[in-house]
Symmetry: C2
Subunit: 200 residues, 2 copies
């Protein structure tokens, strides 16, 4: 029986996914051929197909990984004591993604594909559930610390935070006249107001 | 000399663009072949090429048209007397686009393409300038009516409105748990607060 070295297996998978992300960012999902991913990874097609069934399988793995990275980005870490400070740090980290060209291209490619392709929409929706759950976890922690307005609607607060994050991302990407610094300050203020139960 | 009937010419152009929008919404810009657009329009390739140089030319015309529709959607109409009411009506009309599946697919396709393709980004940025100008026009009208906070920063207000509109659009499209009704009410309240110079 052939034994598989899990570390080596994971390193090869990583190599393929990193190559695929570069290819997809360059030309999109549909224009990228599997052969280009193999060339970028420096691996033979036979070798790549040992790890992934094909391009769709690679795309699904990239979207799943994005979900895991999102969960890690929002997760509470040891040593954090102030829930609101932790939340605002997560918000800053999310806003920073708008200036990462690879992240921007893959994110927009996923959304454009999701509205046409139910399998991709299912992956994307799963990642949205991950974001919601992670954010709700931080808000519940803040609530337990007494830092939020009494009776705050957590689901509505999560919607508001995600709406602002996505809106900022889109403006930063598409509008050359967008003033990101001013918008970021207002976004932070708006979220804090919402969480404290103030008017808007 | 052959004479061209401008109305007939425009009707044929319209027929091609309507067919192209359907094809692009179905399969995206890259997967759609010009032959499919011709078939959808019920016209021969020779006939289509009489009106457009090729697929890229058709895409550019669709994006330009979107810009004109945006300008028309935001424009002040005769008989309107309350600038804030007019603004809120424009905002409602913009939010409604998030439930139009064709509009959603074309918009997302344009954004995903724009971050990879400088020519498309130039078209998209031109449309953003149109949106900004139209919104700023409504805000300046409101300012002249004394309906806005003294010293309101019009550019920052435009950024805030567009950020919320884009964020709402994205949430409505990608997150099945998004509560559009609650978010819409909060969005309207937030914009009014901003315009009145209140905290957030």
């Amino acid at each position: 029986m052939r034994t598989v070295d899990p570390e080596k297996h994971e390193a090869r998978r990583r190599q393929i996914l990193d190559a695929a992300v570069l290819c997809f960012a360059r030309r999109g999902f549909h224009q990228t051929r599997t052969a280009e991913i193999c060339a970028e990874a420096g691996m033979s097609p036979g070798n790549v197909f040992h790890y992934f069934a094909g391009k769709d399988d690679i795309i699904a793995a990239i979207v799943d990984e994005d979900g895991r990275e999102t969960a890690a980005r929002f997760a509470r870490t040891d040593g954090e004591t102030d829930a609101i400070a932790a939340l605002m740090a997560r918000i800053d980290a999310s806003l920073a993604l708008a200036t990462d060209p690879i992240q921007v291209r893959i994110t927009l490619e996923v959304v454009a594909e999701a509205v046409r392709n139910p399998a991709m929409m299912a992956c994307a929706a799963r990642n949205e559930a991950v974001r919601r759950k992670a954010l709700a976890g931080l808000l519940e922690w803040a609530q337990a610390q007494g830092q939020l307005a009494a009776g705050l609607d957590i689901a509505a607060a999560v919607d508001w935070v995600l709406m602002l994050l996505d809106g900022y991302f889109d403006r930063a990407v598409i509008d050359p006249a967008f003033d990101a610094g001013v918008a970021r300050a207002r976004l932070r203020a708006s979220i804090l107001h919402f969480l404290r139960g103030e008017a808007a």
